[in-house]
């Protein structure tokens, strides 16, 4: 291709500026990137920077703020509620992600077995992930109703408890309830992506190992798990990321209550910034999430690197 261009140059006069803009690889790349770049710069990169800037100002809703340095950060770090919310967020993320991973991997292993109606079961498993989170959160809100919860009713009928469980009214109950709803929604994603990974593992490895006398646990530990690690790394990064920045489930089910027991950093920043109007403080809370997210991204990056290395793929 370069040759053709060179020859054309020898015969034809110098190409016009317009022609160069339309054929030069870098310029073409620029034109092709323009729409996506415009969106991402205007509505993603710029707000991201603006958010960090706002966290250093005393902006309110409807009033541009002035630079106040670290005042917002000072304020939130002295605020015991903020630390309660950091605790909530970490608890929520760690517990929900761990259980999602364990149950998701288990479900993936089950679905990888020979099963009747496998395709249908696999399709059905994903439904909780398809249905908009808010709508399933409303269903959970109803399932966890303090008076008319079908779960309480069933447990009473089974004779396991005597009174209705106050799912969303008590601090710890509410925490476990929202964590359960989050796990319920996240397991299908983990399971189906890990299943796709499992299906690329060659069955002859298991056959060879079994002939050598490996137990099922050894099969899992020394074949499945190592081959699955790269995908696990990526899936779990996404899972952690989205759990950490969760907003919808909490907002619908508890709005952060009772007494901030289920507030996460995202919902708390919404409450401070939008409901109370303290944009600066809200931005500081949102910005405080960034170090955690960066940690998750680094894990993902190393996971991806390892995958490339394992597959002997070059870095393109």
């Amino acid at each position: 291709m370069t040759d053709a261009v060179l020859k054309a140059r020898v015969i034809a006069p110098e190409p016009s500026l317009w022609e160069r803009l339309m054929t030069n690889r870098d310029w073409l790349g620029f034109w092709f990137m323009l729409p996506a770049a415009a969106f991402l710069i205007l509505f993603l990169a710029y707000p991201l920077g603006l958010g960090i800037w706002l966290s250093f100002t005393d902006a309110r809703l409807g009033r541009t703020g002035v630079f106040v340095g670290l005042e917002n950060y000072d304020f939130i770090s002295d605020d015991p509620t903020f630390w309660l919310i950091v605790f909530n967020t970490i608890l929520y993320t760690v517990v929900a992600s761990t259980i999602k991973f364990a149950v998701g991997l288990y479900l993936a292993l089950l679905l990888n077995e020979r099963l009747p109606f496998k395709a249908i079961i696999r399709a059905v498993v994903l439904i909780p992930f398809i249905v908009p989170t808010v709508l399933s959160a409303i269903a959970f809100w109803w399932l966890f109703d303090p008076q008319f919860s079908i779960i309480s009713w069933s447990l009473i009928k089974l004779g396991l408890i005597t009174h209705n469980i106050d799912f969303l009214g008590d601090a710890w109950n509410a925490r476990w309830s929202v964590i359960f709803a989050n796990i319920w929604r996240g397991v299908p994603f983990v399971a189906i992506t890990l299943l796709a990974g499992l299906q690329t593992v060659s069955p002859s490895l298991y056959e060879a190992a079994t002939i050598d006398g490996a137990t099922p646990w050894q099969n899992f530990r020394f074949i499945t798990y190592p081959l699955l690690t790269p995908i696990i790394a990526v899936v779990m990064t996404f899972s952690v990321l989205f759990t950490f920045s969760d907003f919808q489930l909490i907002w619908v089910m508890t709005r952060g209550g009772p007494v901030n027991a289920t507030h996460l950093m995202a919902t708390y920043s919404y409450q401070r910034a939008i409901m109370s109007g303290y944009l600066g403080e809200g931005s500081a809370i949102a910005t405080a999430m960034i170090p955690f997210l960066l940690g998750a991204i680094l894990v993902s990056w190393f996971g991806l690197q390892r995958r490339k290395w394992q597959q002997g793929e070059d870095n393109d």
């Binding site: 991201l48 990888n112 439904i127 397991v187 920043s269 997210l293």
Partner: protein
């Protein structure tokens, strides 16, 4: 070998459908039926029950008459012999629900269309034009995918206000692509990589421009990828909550998820019927779409993770 592997990884949908199914469980004959019952069918049905019960409960509540809604002791709570469409009727004819559905549809379709166009161009440029710094841009787009909306909504709300978009559907149509473009670009890059470069070289020699190559050669071959990207983007739009909650304040522009939470929730104890009907109807379009394109959906989901 590497190519074959890369292709296999970038099109997991295909892997899921036609490979392995017949021989991957080559040793399962070693397990007897009672054993499989305990180790496989029992836990599987337990998990499936937990995953599906909320939907059953949602659907049942939506069709129960009011007198059975809260009275579990007189009537069996797990079934109803006189289903009613009263709640659905209430929703469709006595609330703004149809308007909300229409808003959601409009926003989702427009935002998805915008994102797909932008992503196709960007993905093609990154994978095939390979301009200076294309790899870096690819990496940046992946990073953009990892920026969650919950750290962006505060500054975005001031941006949206500055641009004069606040409380219009455009606020959502223009901000949703920031969630969708990184994802679909990443997905389409994977698909474009699998299209043989030789095809494009032939076309270049025949004098086709890059634009012609994209429209006439690459896009027709990437249709499965486009469908995957479309479905996934559409689902994400339908699911989006925090931007819609922050940027829209008038009821007539709200989307279904926001409207149900803010406008439909009232103090009435019998509201559960219409709430569940609303949740059910709001999920239905996605579930129907999903039912038709399961494979594309799965490949979009796994492709985005693996690529």
């Amino acid at each position: 070998m590497t190519d074959a592997l890369a292709r296999e990884v970038s099109q997991p949908g295909r892997v899921l459908t036609d490979s392995t199914a017949d021989h991957s469980e080559g040793m399962s004959y070693l397990h007897s039926l009672p054993r499989r019952l305990v180790t496989l069918y029992l836990p599987l049905s337990l998990i499936l029950f937990v995953l599906l019960f909320p939907f059953y409960w949602m659907a049942l509540t939506a069709v129960k008459p009011d007198n059975q809604l809260l009275d579990f002791n007189t009537y069996s709570p797990f079934w109803t012999w006189n289903p009613t469409l009263k709640h659905v009727y209430h929703l469709l004819f006595e609330t703004d629900y149809p308007i909300w559905l229409w808003n959601t549809m409009l926003v989702a379709v427009c935002a998805t269309a915008l994102s797909i166009v932008a992503s196709v161009l960007a993905a093609y440029a990154i994978v095939r034009l390979r301009y200076k710094g294309a790899r870096w841009v690819g990496g940046l787009i992946f990073l953009a995918y990892l920026v969650p909306p919950s750290i962006l909504f505060i500054p975005l709300s001031t941006v949206v206000f500055q641009y004069g978009l606040f409380d219009t559907p455009f606020a959502l149509i223009l901000t949703y692509p920031t969630i969708l473009i990184p994802f679909s670009t990443w997905l389409l890059m994977g698909y474009f990589k699998t299209i043989p470069y030789e095809l494009e070289e032939c076309a270049l020699i025949d004098g086709a421009t890059r634009w012609q190559i994209l429209v006439r050669i690459v896009l027709p071959l990437a249709v499965p990828g486009l469908i995957s990207a479309f479905i996934f983007c559409f689902t994400l739009c339908w699911n989006e909550f925090i931007y819609a909650l922050t940027f829209i304040s008038s009821t007539q522009y709200k989307t279904v998820p926001v409207a149900i939470v803010t406008a439909l929730v009232d103090g009435d104890v019998y509201r559960w019927g219409s709430l569940m009907a609303g949740a059910l109807l709001g999920s239905l379009p996605l579930v129907i779409l999903y039912a038709f394109f399961v494979e594309h959906y799965v490949s979009a989901m796994t492709g985005a993770v693996k690529e």
